[in-house]
Amino acid sequence: MNDDLRELYQDVIIGHSKRPRNFHSLDDARHAEGYNPLCGDTVTVYLDLDGDRVSDCAFQGHGCAISTASASVMTEALKGKTRAEAERLFHEFHDLVTGRAEDADPEQLGKLAVFAGVSEFPARVKCATLCWHTARAAMDGQDEPVSTE
């Protein structure tokens, strides 16, 4: 297997795709649906807010290893974050997977840094970002399903 692939399908990503964390619904939480019409991937992201802070985060849906692992790691990363922190993380992550992350702060990204390899696979960027767009919509109380197209 070549290096790009090894970088993309790191053990952490494979692990999260097989055993996603926070893979369930949250009763009475705000939630939004995301859809990638290109591949049929769907994700529903649930967020509990305690004031301005994410007290709990979960997801459901089906998709490829990248999208499932991304959602799984995201739910871990968002817990405890304020809205502003979550928004900042969203941008950091987006820069990371689109290869514009020279300035990205590895401390900020934490475990999310494992997705750096996605930038070598432009066709897969949407797989990694769908859950983030969806989380943002849930945060904003958006009713319309989020689409990558």
Partner: protein, 416 residues
């Protein structure tokens, strides 16, 4: 004749020699020899088509049917010669029954717009099958919405074969049109269209066949089938993209209003009234894709020179070989196991999403299609989000099937 006897009777292709006709195949992708198995999405072009297009543009190009000058006449001849080749390919009774369009999608939309809209009223029905491409669903839905008509769907079994008893029951006085895929792009199923047309005609119902996936693989005879409309695309037949064909029986086409208005399709225009030209010009408004049509003509010549029977036999061998080898892989399931199939193999692997399969295979130089193949109802029917699809052309080899199998073993290893 069954495919098995065809394999014995047909002359064998010299695949290695034929591959040298396709310059694009002789390249490496990610450092590996390209293995192009996405032919159902679009096929590659032989040198003969590339050269014919370049030669035409370099020496004969001008607008057609207009000028008295030499180039316009040469271009018109080249364009109209391509129409003759399409007529021969489909065995249409008359060359004027061949309409050039932008592709299968536009051909179907033309019939939806100019035939089905007038034919359908409140409560009327259009019948499609459960395995249609979106382009043979959505145009009819638009008609149904506008005319308050109903879209009815022929169900299929778990192998991906249509239920002919259910189909026969769907046909009735309210049915105004049947629109069927000749060969399924997602499953590979070759539908029993001759029988289905016979059943529809018993009720006086016309039938449109979406032949996008059929024409590259089988000899099509619209008269023997008694098809009323037949649509296909150049780019799946080793020709340029942006060109398609609609065949229609002259009596039907003559009675239909134009699809688009413009130049080329008129005989006289005043602000009070316009007189349309006869077939085929009535349905060819505006300057068409002249060079593309010439390229399609060259592609048809090429396919005839290779031999459709030999193509069918070799592709069947590739289908059998790839199905058998894929079937040996634990956890892999082939979706679409009809008895009559073209060289399309869709499959799923337990626990591994097709997009991950596609990405990993791509790094091995292997091009496959992953996703819903513009046939989401098929995915819903089999309760899967997507499949990986390998689709073969006559220039594919068993060594390429072996590369695919090795690639899939790599995929499984990544996810082990």
């Amino acid at each position: 004749m069954t495919a098995a006897t065809a394999a014995v009777a047909a002359p064998r292709l010299d695949v290695e020699r034929l591959r040298t006709d396709f310059p694009i195949l002789a390249q490496q992708v990610h450092g590996k020899p390209l293995v192009y198995l996405d032919n159902a999405a679009s096929a590659q072009k032989p040198r003969q088509v590339i050269d014919a297009v370049a030669h035409f543009d370099a020496t004969d190009y001008a607008n057609i049917h207009r000028g008295v000058h030499t180039l316009s006449q040469r271009a018109t001849t080249a364009f109209e010669t391509a129409r003759d080749r399409v007529q021969r390919l489909l065995n249409a009774a008359d060359r004027k029954e061949i309409i050039f369009t932008r592709g299968t999608t536009e051909s179907i939309n033309l019939v939806a717009h100019s035939y089905a809209r007038a034919a359908c009223n409140l409560g009327d029905e259009i019948v499609v099958s459960a395995m249609e491409h979106h382009s043979n669903i959505v145009p009819w839905q638009l008609v149904c919405r506008e005319r308050a008509a109903v879209l009815r769907v022929v169900p299929m079994n778990d192998a991906g074969e249509l239920d002919l008893d259910a189909y026969a029951k769907l046909l009735g006085p309210h049915t105004k049109l049947v629109a069927l895929g000749h060969v399924s792009n997602a499953l590979g199923t070759i539908n029993p269209v001759a029988e289905m047309i016979r059943l529809a005609h018993a009720h006086g119902i016309p039938v449109l066949l979406d032949g996008a996936q059929a024409v590259p693989h089988l000899a099509v005879d619209v008269q023997a089938l008694d098809a009323d409309f037949y649509a296909f695309s150049s780019h799946k037949l080793f020709g340029p993209s942006g060109v398609g064909v609609l065949y229609g029986k002259a009596a039907l086409l003559d009675a239909m209003p134009p699809y688009e208005g413009g130049g080329e399709m008129i005989s006289a225009v005043t602000f009070e009234k316009t007189f349309y030209k006869g077939l085929p010009a009535k349905f060819e408004a505006g300057t068409p894709n002249i060079t593309g049509v010439v390229g399609l003509g060259a592609a048809i010549d090429y396919v005839h020179a290779v031999g459709l029977e030999a193509i069918g036999a070799w592709e069947h061998e590739l289908l059998e070989y790839s199905s058998a080898r894929l079937g040996e892989i634990p956890g892999l399931r082939i979706v679409g196991t009809a008895r009559a199939k073209a060289s399309v193999v869709s499959f799923v692997i337990e626990g591994i999403h097709p997009h991950d399969i596609g990405t990993i295979l791509d790094r091995e130089g292997i091009a496959v299609r992953t996703g819903h193949h513009c046939a989401q109802p098929v995915m819903q029917r089999f309760r899967i989000p997507a499949t990986t699809r390998a689709s073969f052309a006559f220039y594919n080899t068993k060594a390429e099937v072996d590369a695919l199998i090795a690639g899939i073993h790599n995929v499984i290893e990544v996810f082990a």
